[in-house]
């Protein structure tokens, strides 16, 4: 029997018990519950949510997705991806269940860990207790300094009710360049929540792709995800979050990376699914010499709504960050981008760039772009830029006059618009996959 009662404290305890969690984690969940229970949801009056109205999202009207314990096959959509993606290893979740996991013996022997969070809690409790909730914590949004605590609402919901997740650990000096892939297949109709914890020790190197898939049309469904990336000195992580959930999904992603001295993060967020999605992506340059590349691609159609927020937080001096988010919108869809470069006092010699460009394929589509700078040091190089423009009629005419039907001409122009992001994705199969999604999306 599915339960549709409102979320409760008892449910938090029940989830934690069902998952066999240690006491400290239950305490965390309960603390998150306290925050969740007392806060309102963000509204368009909340500055960070000005262009995204979530009042219709049925957060508390859906059954909570829990592990069923029943064996499940790998869905065809995931099989198709596995055949194309050329991965070194992979994990497949269906709902809250880990149904398949493969990690090359060679990586395993070097101490690389790729497993479900709950497996990791049993096997590597110390690692988990040391790192979980360190990068993404609802509590960052509450407290006397924070005047808009409702921003903690959804992160707290995730922390109190997440049911599954991934743990990737890369030991010191261990490096691999062929990607590990994690697929999260959601059947829909439920409230789902997951977390990802990536710990890259000093001078390690890792490539990690996380993809969200579902049937193309689902009843109202909510998914929250939280990704924590911890990079020790000199660690290099390439990370991608690819969201292709079906119509009916409301997807909320929060991601935060902590970069120590000389660490490098190459991040990519692709949001091309869901009825409504929001991704908050944040990099903390905590050590000098750290570098965060943050790329984003989005393409909306129908009445879809996608919202991105990026934060480049320069705490240490001599660090570098580069945001490039590019999107396109057709039909009556809507995109939002807001980004902040925040340079702390003393973070001299900061190099920070932020660019957002939007292409509109119809007169009814809309893109809002809000780039911001907040600079507390005097010897820095920061720049930001944003633009939103419709497809140029003369470009469309040129391509069509050679015989291409309108949708193909538009497809070429959308790809052309996104090309400087696409060419910065060195994982060839991933880039081809994203291009195929763009093609598909122009056609429908």
């Amino acid at each position: 029997m599915e339960r549709t009662a409102a979320l409760s404290r008892d449910q938090v305890i029940e989830v934690s018990a069902k998952l066999g969690e240690p006491r400290w984690l239950l305490q965390k969940r309960l603390a998150a519950w306290e925050t969740f229970a007392k806060l309102p949801y963000p509204t368009p009056r909340t500055e960070e949510w000005k262009y995204t109205d979530i009042t219709e999202v049925p957060f508390e009207e859906l059954p909570l997705e829990l592990p069923t314990g029943k064996p499940k096959a790998i869905p065809q959509a995931v099989r198709d991806r596995l055949a194309q993606a050329q991965l070194a290893g992979y994990a497949v979740f269906v709902g809250a269940e880990l149904v398949h996991l493969e990690l090359p013996e060679e990586l395993r022997q070097q101490g690389v860990i790729l497993t479900s969070l709950h497996q990791a809690l049993a096997q590597y409790p110390d690692l988990l207790e040391a790192h979980l909730f360190k990068a993404v914590n609802w509590a960052d949004w509450v407290g006397p300094q924070q005047n808009r605590p409702e921003n903690a609402k959804i992160p707290a919901l995730n922390a109190a009710f997440f049911t599954h997740g991934v743990f990737l650990y890369v030991p010191k000096n261990v490096a691999f360049s062929k990607p590990l892939g994690v697929f999260k297949y959601l059947e829909g109709g439920q409230l789902s929540g997951s977390r990802t914890l990536i710990v890259a020790e000093a001078h390690s190197q890792a490539v990690y792709i996380e993809e969200y898939l579902s049937p193309s049309q689902v009843p109202p469904s909510v998914n929250t995800s939280a990704t924590e990336i911890v990079l020790a000195d000199g660690a290099k992580v390439r990370h991608a979050h690819i969201q292709l959930l079906g119509r009916g999904f409301y997807h909320f992603h929060r991601q935060r990376a902590l970069l120590q001295r000389d660490a490098t993060l190459n991040d990519l967020v692709v949001n091309m699914g869901s009825s409504l999605s929001r991704a908050e992506v944040q990099s903390e340059m905590l050590g000098p010499g750290s570098f965060s590349e943050m790329l984003g691609l989005y393409f909306t159609s129908g009445t879809e709504h996608v919202d991105h927020y990026t934060l480049q937080h320069h705490v240490a001096d001599h660090a570098h960050s580069d945001v490039l988010y590019k999107g396109a919108a057709k039909d009556q869809s809507r995109t939002v981008y807001a980004g902040l470069i925040k340079v702390a006092q003393g973070a001299q010699k900061t190099d920070a760039y932020q660019t957002n460009r939007n292409l509109l394929l119809s007169a009814e589509a809309r893109a809002d772009s809000v780039p911001q700078l907040e600079i507390g040091a005097n010897d820095v190089r920061c720049s930001h830029g944003s633009s939103t423009a419709p497809v140029a009629p003369e470009e469309l005419f040129y391509l069509m006059s050679r015989g291409l039907p309108r949708h193909m001409a538009q497809q070429i122009l959308v790809k052309g618009h996104m090309t400087d992001v696409l060419t910065r994705i060195p994982i060839e199969p991933l880039r081809q996959y994203i291009e195929s999604i763009i093609e598909e999306k122009v056609r429908i």
Partner: protein, 253 residues
């Protein structure tokens, strides 16, 4: 069936501003012939070319355009291309993200309405490149992206040669070209010459007509064709300028 591109009493204005550009153009290009349209700046020559290809920024208010006897006025630009029309643009658009060759193959397939094998495609490409005295490096570059002015013009001719239209309109393809580039472009057009190819050469200068000898020359002024003649008309214009034609236009002869 009449084998010709016919412009019949064509009137058109700029869709946004309402400014009238064409005021009754009459012109027939039989298949197998190359006609030149000459005239001073602002005569409406380029507009005529774009309207034939279906540029949505203009609105046809009267008249008709017929390809082999069939009106194409209601057709989208891509449908016109499939009827055999081609416009070599005066200012080709730069499109990053798609290579010149990939785009051209898509265009060829769209035009033919069927898959074109790599072999057939490369065969066409090689023939065009050879005629245009060009190397393959132009194929892998993004479409017109960072091309010099001359490269863009030459690339338009290459597209024309690969797509093999029935009627091509060349919109000031000669402008901005040095004499060597001009010869190469002319070589491309002359290679297309034959019973199944007609062309309308829009130009401001007589120079290109030294290399592509037209079957007929039309002079356009203030939105109308004011006089027509053989290749010798171009030489007359070169010597005497457009002033004397202007008088013709005024006297209405």
């Amino acid at each position: 069936m009449v084998n010709q591109l016919e412009i019949r009493n064509l009137h058109a204005k700029i869709a946004d501003s309402g400014e009238v550009i064409l005021k009754g153009v009459n012109l027939v290009v039989p298949k197998g012939q190359i006609h030149a349209v000459m005239g001073p700046n602002g005569a409406g020559k380029s507009t005529l070319g774009k309207i034939i290809a279906g540029d949505p920024s203009y609105e046809v208010t009267a008249g008709d355009i017929l390809v082999d006897g069939e009106s194409i006025l209601e057709l989208e630009p891509d449908e016109r291309a499939r009827k055999g029309l081609f416009l070599a643009f005066q200012y080709p658009v730069e499109v990053p993200g798609v290579s010149n060759a990939n785009f051209l193959r898509l265009a060829l397939q769209a035009k033919k309405g069927e898959e074109v094998s790599m072999m057939e495609f490369y065969d066409r490409l090689q023939r065009a490149l050879k005629t245009l005295d060009w190397d393959e490096s132009i194929l892998t570059r993004y479409l017109n992206d960072g091309f010099s002015g001359g490269e863009k013009k030459r690339n338009e001719i290459m597209h024309m040669m690969v797509l093999e239209p029935t009627y091509a309109i060349l919109d000031e393809t000669d402008s901005g070209l040095d004499i060597d580039a001009l010869k190469v472009v002319a070589k491309g057009v002359n290679a297309m010459r034959g019973p199944n190819f007609g062309a309308l050469l829009i130009t401001h200068y007589q120079r290109i007509l030294n290399y592509i000898v037209p079957d007929a020359v039309h002079v356009m002024m203030d939105g109308r064709i004011v006089t027509s003649g053989g290749p010798e008309l171009a030489l007359q214009l070169e010597e005497r300028g457009y002033e004397w034609v202007k008088e013709l236009a005024v006297t209405g002869s």
